[in-house]
């Protein structure tokens, strides 16, 4: 695979560059992380406002017209939680100059545009405009509501919110409805200034562009900014207390069961690759215990899977089931976890899991978007790892360690979305 170069730009700001000409495109992205607890709504709204215009292209229509001219350069913005950090991302992908019809320089213009959005937003009288903020308030609110209209997402979010109600992690990455509704241009402006000064920032570039050149222009941009990066420290709870149960009724046909576990981590350093493999053996691919028993043998559901969030030390299990099968499904899921705990799984399953994780990691090298994300999501790590280094860690996990890992997992919260819609109610 292509070489990774890591270049320091400013205090708490770096560039990871993967130089390669195997892709048709070049991609550059910026990810900024702040402790989850400041003005969450303003940070979230900010990244979408930045994405909509800049000083050079001051409205959405002219900006998108410019993107069209750049052969449909793809611009995206997102907000995520990384443990108890709020991270915002802006990315742009454009075709490599080799493929431009008129011999134009597409990549440089695309990278320039991204930097313009970040450092020279559209301001009037040194502030964001009320009009832009009002539009973004509505869009952010609708974005939040729209995501929750997906019942699978809703049930997962609700379980985490209830499970981590007393931890910063229990908050929405977009902030509360009230925080969004009360947004003002002043708050957005403050969030922008604060982000450039205090966020931990990582740029990632994948493509044929020269890393030194990108680094030079980035360094210039940061010359005038006084940096004081804020560290994020995520709160971990190693072991669940008494199991909490919550349910809600909704007029849906299919019930959604989510079970939230604590993954035995008291601090970030407790993370062990065996937990990743255990979680995959338990509920990863089609070879996993949950797929082969709860879906295939028992026909209880179309999906039943588990996922580890190592940044927060949680393991979440989710399944879409008939509401009347809740008890049966819960018992079956816990039974399979017990099986993993007692080592009741074959070496075939174990090997399948190791191979599958390796395959996934290797596939990252074939996608500029995924590679960008791989490096972006490590911005808070002391050491940035390549996919090869990660594979070596996974491959060092032994079958015995899987049971040990499973024994560290404790059930914290069960959330059940009860479907109350009867058959025949969906007629028009």
């Amino acid at each position: 695979m292509s070489d990774l170069r890591q270049i320091e730009i400013a205090q708490g700001v770096d560039l990871c560059a993967v130089k390669t000409d195997m892709f048709k495109t070049g991609r550059i992205s910026v990810t900024m992380a702040l402790p989850l607890g400041g003005d969450i709504a303003a940070n979230a709204a900010l990244v979408y406002i930045l994405r909509r215009s800049c000083a050079k292209y001051p409205d959405f229509t002219s900006l998108n017209g410019h993107l069209d001219e750049l052969y449909g350069a793809a611009l995206s913005a997102s907000v995520t939680k990384l443990g108890e950090a709020q991270t915002v991302n802006l990315s742009i992908s454009a075709i490599d100059d080799r493929f431009a019809l008129g011999g134009d320089s597409v990549l440089e213009s695309a990278a320039e545009l991204l930097l313009c959005m970040l450092f020279e937003p559209k301001l009037v009288d040194a502030n964001f405009t009320q009009e832009d903020v009002d539009i973004e308030k509505r869009l952010l609110l609708e974005r939040m509501l729209s995501e929750l209209d997906d019942k699978t997402v809703y049930a997962m979010r609700r379980c985490q919110e209830l499970m981590c109600a007393d931890e910063p992690f229990g908050q929405s990455r977009y902030g509360t409805r009230e925080d969004i509704l009360s947004l003002t241009p002043d708050r957005i402006y403050a969030a922008w200034k604060n982000m450039l000064a205090t966020a931990v920032i990582r740029f990632v570039a994948v493509g044929s562009a020269d890393a030194d050149e990108i680094a030079r222009s980035l360094k210039k941009r940061f010359e005038s900014i006084e940096r004081r990066p804020a560290a994020t420290s995520t709160r971990f709870i190693a072991e669940a207390g008494e199991m909490k149960y919550h349910s809600e009724e909704m007029a849906v046909k299919q019930g959604k069961l989510v079970m939230g576990f604590r993954a035995g981590m008291a601090r970030k350093d407790d993370y062990d690759s065996a937990m990743t493999v255990m979680c995959d053996v338990f509920g990863g691919g089609t070879y996993s215990k949950l797929f082969s028993h709860v879906r295939e043998k028992m026909s209880l559901c179309y999906y039943c899977s588990s996922r580890l969030d190592k940044e927060k030390g949680l393991m979440m299990v989710q399944s879409g089931i008939e509401t009347e099968n809740e008890e049966k499904a819960r018992a079956a899921i816990l039974e399979q976890l017990d099986a993993v705990r007692s080592g009741d799984f074959t070496s075939d399953t174990f090997n399948a899991s190791i191979m599958s994780i390796n395959e996934t990691l290797r596939s990252y090298d074939d996608s500029p978007e995924v590679l960008c994300q791989w490096y972006s999501m490590q911005l808070l790590e002391d050491v940035t790892k390549t996919t090869e280094e990660r594979m070596a860690e996974i491959n060092a996990v032994t079958q015995e360690q899987i049971s040990e890992a499973a024994n560290k997992v404790t059930l914290d919260t069960v959330f059940m979305l009860i479907g109350t819609k009867e058959d025949g109610e969906d007629e028009n």
Binding site: D59, L67, Q254
Partner: protein
Amino acid sequence: MKTEIIENGRLNESYYRAEHPSGLTILVLTKPDYTGSHAIFAAKYGSIDTKIQDADGAFRDIPAGTAHFLEHKLFESEDLDAFERFAKTGAYANAFTSFDRTAYIFSCSQSFKENLEILLDFVQSPYFSEETVRKEQGIIGQEIRMYKDVAGWQVMFNLLGALYHENSVKIDIAGTEESIAGISADMLYGCYKNFYSLRNMVLAVAGNVTPEDVLEVADRLLKAEEGKAVQREFKREPAKPARTYVEESLAVSTPNFLLGYKEDISTPERSVKESLCTEIIHEVIAGKSSPLYKRLLEDGLINAGFSFEHFAGYGFACSFFGGESAKPQETADEIKKEVARIKETGISGQSFERARRKLYGGMVMMYNDVEDIARDLMEAHFSGTGLFDTVETCVSLTLEDVNGRLREILDGDTAALSIINPIVH
């Protein structure tokens, strides 16, 4: 065996095409600097195929959802099922059924030949029993129920139900809980025999793999038989929709809407040129740089989820515009007004060039992804075109082509609107 190499200098890509003696068409695009490969073994058989042609040429009905049901069941065998076999190689395997295709896929970066052997073997070795069919009715029943709660899915099938009188495109891909209850093991064998002839299928591969690797396995595994490409029945639909409005209530916070224009088609499939012209027209009307988009966004009528699509396949073709809106009816009216206005004025040279550039860029970007390439190879084969036809047609399109196409489509009286309202308590 007839073979050829198809090259494209503009993209600096080429692929290999062979008509294998077994009757199967094999397509391979090699990406030597990639880590992984993606393979698709697909049949021209999807949810719209609700009839089987008998030996005497007559069409006989089969239950809705058989293509999808068969896809689920083909993974099973008397001993190790396909998932268990792929688990031993580490490959990611899956399958999907669309309106007019069933595709079996795997992605891997190691043991390509072994994986291809599993793929070709399991798809050619049907094994169905009444017991496993019954069990699957439970799993697919849950899949169908899951989609009943998904507003974006319901709003589309409700719209198709309004636009089409007879066409089976309006039935959910997985069928209904009632229709799949009528599926038996015997029936699946009958459908398999009819639709899974190698002449009705294609093998498309892209990635770090050579044609020699593929052929070596194909020569060993492909079982030639007397099958033939399946004929589909094409019935011309009335030009106007069955209904112009349909609504349903679901547990959503904001209404969903989908506005569709049905194209009056006298032949079953749209050419590459027709499709591209349509996409350019959509982009000019409602793309993010259009005046309409700006107006709708600023008036609070749409949000980031707004999108449009040329929805076309065998026997159907529509233009869709949709998303979420607090005022779905008003939004649809605004879109219809703009569509009518642009049909009146035609598209300007500048708008055309801009939209064409955007589309071209998207096509170039597609060649980054081996999964997308393999899928496009399959689609091109089933449509009787070449992989590079799209990009070359895009480069050679003229403004007259697009304005000519604009006169053929998007008539106001071919439109229907589907709305999903929030449940009011």
